[in-house]
Amino acid sequence: MFILVKMKDTVRTPPRLFHLDTMDAIREALNKKFANKVVYKVGLCIALWDVEKVEDSYIFPGDGATHTIVHFRYVVFRPFVDEILVGRIKSSSKDGVYVTMGFFDDILIPADSLQHPSKFNEQEQLWSWEYEAQEEGKVDLPMEIGGDIRFRIVDETFVDTTPSSPEENKPMAPPATTPAGSSLTMSDPGSKKAPYTLTGSISEMGLGMLSWWNAG
């Protein structure tokens, strides 16, 4: 579910932070830049794991700040396809069931990936699984909002939400031409288009509401 991603970035330390320990200033800058952001084709960044290597700092004409190339590792939320996760139902609509992990909300279990046969109750706006028990006949198992749900990741989608699409694997521009704090490949998770969405499925034995499988 969580992975370590090795990254390299140029950190600009403005003079007002010179009183801090260099490493502290770098850690702060990296956490400020990446924490709670989705990086395109990487995942949702959580927190800095460690700084592996710090290269020499440079000062450029006309700018009092130091520019340092830093190699670091970051903790990123990116479940792999086929991973089993446990989340909570946020809402449901005709399209399917929306699931939240608490810190990550853009997970959809589409209607055709629910347990078979499932039906949507228009009045209550809830999905339920019409389980056919051998003795009791049909049993309606509702999927209530706020309930814990176990699901399998079947697909992930990254949407490039930046105004201009950056070319992939673009070589890094020299630090002088890269304005510090530029966020070319990242965007806020709260923006209109979700930059990173996961698609789940519960059409398997053992998947679905935790309460369905625990009782037996």
């Binding site: 579910m1 969580f2 992975i3 370590l4 991603v5 090795k6 990254m7 390299k8 970035d9 502290d24 850690r27 702060e28 956490n31 400020k32 924490a35 709670n36 952001k37 990086v39 084709k41 990487v42 959580i46 927190a47 800095l48 794991w49 190699h71 590792r73 903790v75 990116r78 792999f80 086929d82 991973e83 089993i84 446990v86 992990m101 608490g102 810190f103 176990r150 399998r152 890094m172 070319l184 490949t185 398997e204 034995m205 053992g206 998947l207 499988w213 625990n214």
Partner: protein
Amino acid sequence: MEVESENHGMLSNFEVLGLLKDIQAGRGQKKPNKYQTNLATITYETIKCLENWPCAHHSSDGITSAMKALTPFKLTPAEKLQLINLCPSTAVEIQLIVEESEERLTETQIEALLDLLATNLPGPEAEREQEEGAEEDEEMEEEQG
């Protein structure tokens, strides 16, 4: 920014929870200050979420011994990670996590898997029993304070 290695390694929920708790307490890394609202938000939300999962009750010794005990089952690293993260307690959960489990594992092996997970990574119930005495003492102190 440049990504050097997209998947450098997988982390267990336990490790992430440990790191985030350290950040919140200001150990190793500095506490998020008032300019780092993003870090503060994600740390808070993730901890809140992880604390409800089995990893909140794990210990690093327990995970090490569980990993050692999992070796003879010939599972992939991803499968082992999920077993540790989710701590399944029923056979049907094992079948979900382990691909083609019918061919790769016998019924006795699944039983053994569930047993070793239960012993090495105790759930909240077992822990509560052990700590019941200690917690009561703490509560008493809090009341007095």
